[in-house]
């Protein structure tokens, strides 16, 4: 492949001749993605503990996204990590649509990690759609435009008469046509069009043949045939297998261990201690100055390297180690103590005032109805079904890794600082991951694998046992909310005060909370309530916290939308109408309704979009009639939430039997994520999955601590929902609005928890204010 001359400076499309015929179209990452992000800002990224989003800015290095080859195939590059969110299929769909080729002729290739070529190689924040919607279509449309121009020249016809279809150019009046590949040699000498010219040539959405059509997962054939596809399936020559035993409390250091005995066990190649030689501060999720946030960290532990994973794991079972468990192995680092401490904190002065509008105390005194309630939710674990693992080959001062990191560049700094090589000597391959949910935004498994490879002198595949995975997560932080709300005689919410007690450094100024454990000052319902206060306090925590699917929102929606329900019932109003009325409330001097709404990416909460989905879900579920016609013991609950630029309103119908056994009969989901659903099959799959995930989390999931130790170990005591327990029907509808499309994987999840809790209330009068439900005696029927 030879790169073509430097082209017009306006242009950001690059054309390259391919050896053996054919042509490649590339984008310059930086310019292209500046376009794609236009108006979106990227604000609010820091807010929710987003795992070092953004990464290094991309210098202008060309990368090809499309290769047109003489065999009639179109190779399209997928540049983002795939962890089950469908992006490896979705990004190429955008290119193929504008290129105007048939999906059956598309071959998808996964790129490697290269921040100098690609922007936004991350799977986080539901960002793939908003960040790539424009640039991916630009590369396809730019290529198509050039192919039309080349055909016009070849046939000596006006460009306006040249059309395209299924990978061919046509001049209908003269009945001429040619496959794209035939024009390849002509393109080299042409000047690529500017972004503006390309956008003028974007297809009219009514002509879409791929975008908006359900497109099957591009890896389906490999999945159904059991072909090696996932990170854990990676094999490299000479590879050994490793396990890595860390101490019982985060920050533990090895005191003694039976090294000689372990090394003598069958199949063992090597065993050694990997010493963590850096200070222990960042592991609870604080950001240190100058460090990328939450890229992960290296914990001290004992590595066992063997000829097969089973040998390593068997040897580990014979491990006799003593640990210096450090300062966190104390009774105050126990879940019961955290809960008691939170109540104690709630009775004192808050550590900080995150937001105060008007006079909530006075407004509460004057309210016709007031409600006071304390809400709580636990730490939870990501529990990706594929346990964390990574294959690494550290050799001659270079390190190559294969991982399913959601932010693979995040591993570079960690590996460089711990192994002592330059980042430029690290190569990372992106392999399909068996679930992400935010866990793979942290690269601790990658630095462990790199260190074990370096120290043992072998390429290694490090595979965590499930027990490692559950005990060494960056957990969704638990939290406590002490709420007071007031409603006037007309049903207007006049006061709202929330004292949020979370985890972090209580004495820090400004208050520093543990990762993904903070709420922004303009989070809903702040923009709508005249007398509003959000106070935040923190207590120290012994474990790392981090982003889990819809960080912050996944817990906050449960609290806010349950409490709104309480206010609605106190006021004697229908919960749906009460919400619609709340969305119509205004403040005397409305402050900017900017805000994050979870990871809002700078997008403001838009009341009319939320009202739209609320009305849609009421209509879909036939709310007004259904709520009256349900049998005793069955209830309807509704909730909405805005996060990651997406508006979701959900209704759940829940049957509660006398012994607190519940069955979620049906869920309705109404979503506004812009004007276009790119791949409806995947969108529906993920929306349904988000609902099922949320119900799973609220019923069972809880990580508890005792003297700093995580008490759950495997799926026998950290349960996930199963087939017979899952809601059998989830109806999803999209309200199309004139906004660029945004993501779905995360914002679909938060509303289901309060929708189910509100349904339980409507069925039984029992208001659940603490998760998981099992702790209040609930179980699935």
């Amino acid at each position: 492949m030879t790169t073509k001359k430097t082209l017009d400076r306006r242009s950001f499309l690059r054309v390259t001749a391919l050896a053996g015929g054919g042509v490649a179209f590339g984008l310059i990452g930086k310019d292209a993605f500046a376009q794609g992000r236009g108006g979106r800002g990227g604000g609010g990224r820091g807010g929710a503990g987003g795992g070092g989003f953004g990464g290094p800015a991309a210098p202008p290095k060309v990368e090809n996204y499309i290769k047109i080859t003489p065999d009639g195939k179109f190779t399209i590059m997928a540049k983002n990590p795939e962890v089950g969110q469908g992006v490896r299929t979705m990004l190429p769909m955008l290119i193929a649509e504008e290129l105007d080729v048939d999906w059956k002729d598309v071959v998808i290739e996964q790129t490697d990690v290269d921040p100098s070529k690609y922007a936004g190689q991350i799977a986080g924040g539901s960002t793939a759609t908003p960040q790539n919607w424009i640039p991916m279509r630009q590369v396809g449309a730019g290529a198509r435009l050039m192919l039309r121009q080349a055909a016009a020249q070849m046939w000596n016809k006006p460009e306006s008469e040249i059309t395209t279809r299924s990978g061919k150019v046509y001049h209908e009046p003269s009945k001429q046509s040619a496959p794209y590949s035939q024009l390849a040699s002509k393109l080299e000498s042409m000047t690529p069009p500017s972004a503006e010219e390309i956008e003028k040539n974007f297809k009219d959405p009514k002509d879409y043949k791929i975008i908006g059509k359900s497109t099957v997962n591009c890896d389906i054939k490999a999945i159904i045939a059991g072909k090696p596809l996932f990170t854990i399936d990676q094999e490299i020559p000479g590879m050994k297998f490793a396990v890595y035993q860390k101490g019982p409390v985060f920050g533990s250091k090895v005191k003694t261990w039976n090294e000689a005995e372990i090394k003598k066990m069958p199949g063992i190649v090597d065993a050694f201690v990997v010493v963590k030689d850096q200070p222990n501060t960042p592991f609870i999720g604080y950001r240190e100055e100058g460090k990328p946030a939450d890229a992960g960290d290296l914990q001290e532990g004992i590595a066992i390297v063997a000829d097969s994973w089973w040998y390593a794991q068997s040897a580990r079972k014979k491990l006799q180690a003593t640990w210096d468990e450090g300062p966190r192995a104390t009774p105050e680092h126990s879940s019961t103590a955290y809960a008691a401490k939170a109540v104690e904190i709630s009775k004192g002065e808050p550590h900080s005032t995150t937001r105060k509008d008007g006079d909530p105390d006075a407004a509460l005194k004057g309210a016709a109805h007031t409600v006071e309630a304390a809400y709580a939710y636990p730490f939870i674990s990501h529990a990706d079904l594929e346990p964390q693992n990574c294959t690494a080959n550290f050799k001659d001062g270079k390190c190559e890794i294969w991982s399913s990191s959601q932010i693979p560049t995040g591993a570079f700094g960690l590996i460089a600082s711990n192994t002592g090589i330059e980042q430029s000597n690290i190569t990372a391959h992106m392999i399909r991951g068996g679930g992400g949910f935010g866990r793979r935004l942290y690269n601790d498994y990658a630095v462990e694998a790199a260190m074990i490879s370096k120290m043992s002198g072998h390429p290694v595949k490090l595979v965590w046992a499930r027990e490692d995975d559950l005990a060494n997560d960056y957990y969704r932080p638990g939290g406590f909310h002490f709420l007071k709300g007031g409603v006037d005689a007309s049903g207007k919410v006049t006061a709202w005060a929330d004292h949020f007690v979370t985890y972090g450094a209580p004495k820090s100024m400004p208050l520093q909370t543990s990762s993904a454990a903070n709420i922004g000052p303009t989070e809903f319902p702040q923009p709508f309530i005249e007398n509003y206060a959000l106070y935040t306090s923190a207590q120290p925590v012994a474990i790392r916290t981090g982003s889990l699917r819809a960080p912050t929102s996944n817990a906050l929606a449960f609290v806010v939308q349950s409490f709104i329900d309480e206010l609605a019932h106190a006021a004697g109003k229908d919960p749906v109408q009460f919400r619609i009325d709340l969305l119509a409330q205004t403040k005397p001097e409305p402050p900017a309704r900017g805000g994050r709404g979870g990871f809002g990416f700078g997008n403001a909460f838009n009341a009319s979009r939320m009202t739209g989905v609320t009305k849609l879900v009421a209509q879909m579920s036939d709310w007004n009639n259904r709520k009256k016609s349900l049998p005793k013991g069955t209830g309807l609950g509704m909730a909405f939430h805005f996060s990651h630029s997406g508006y979701f309103a959900e209704v759940a119908e829940v049957k509660v039997e006398a012994n607190k056994k519940i069955k979620v009969n049906k869920v309705w989901v109404a979503a506004d994520i812009g004007r276009q659903i790119i791949n409806p099959s995947m969108a529906n799959n993920e929306a349904q999955g988000a609902v099922i995930d949320g119900i799973s989390a609220m019923m069972f999931q809880e990580i508890t601590l005792n003297n700093g130790r995580v008490q759950q170990s495997n799926f026998n005591n950290y349960k996930l929902i199963r087939m017979a327990q899952a809601v059998p029907e989830v109806e999803v509808q999209y309200l199309t609005s004139d906004n660029n499309p945004t993501g779905l994987g995360e914002p679909a999840m938060p509303p289901i928890l309060p929708a189910v809790a509100n349904a339980i209330f409507s069925a039984t009068g029992d208001r659940v204010r603490s998760l998981p439900l099992k702790n209040s005696g609930y179980d699935f029927a």
Partner: protein, 164 residues
Amino acid sequence: MAYTLTVNGKKSTVDVPADMPLLWVLRDVLKMHGTKFGCGIGQCRACTVHVDGKAQPSCQLQISAVGNKAITTIEGLSADGTHPVQRAWEQVDVPQCGYCQAGQMMAASALLAAKPKPTDADIDQAMSYNLCRCGTYIRIRQAIHLAASMGRNGAAHTTGSAAQ
């Protein structure tokens, strides 16, 4: 110790400890990576294979207990991806991450072999051993019903089919 086992109709001899689970023999010794590891304690069933036609978690079956039972893995469900369950999984576009799906398909094909027209209750019963972290249960159920309607039931393909 040397053990001879029959996987997808093909005999192999492996030299491994008696307590090595079949899962790790498949993955690390025979280098067949379709069968997945999720928990190692029989809770997730990502590791499901057929043992004499019955769905079993391979992490719970020590190599010394395999004997001459016929083992079928996802790689042997059909020679060409055309088992009704595979076709249905593709048509319904079941997977999200896909990691659990080999186990789901092995459980589903064993169910269909035993009950060619399973009811929802049959599906709840047979499929509730298998976890799907991504929550694809609605589509799994849909795909099983679709596979059941495809005529050729899974029976002929539950053991040793790769050799056919």
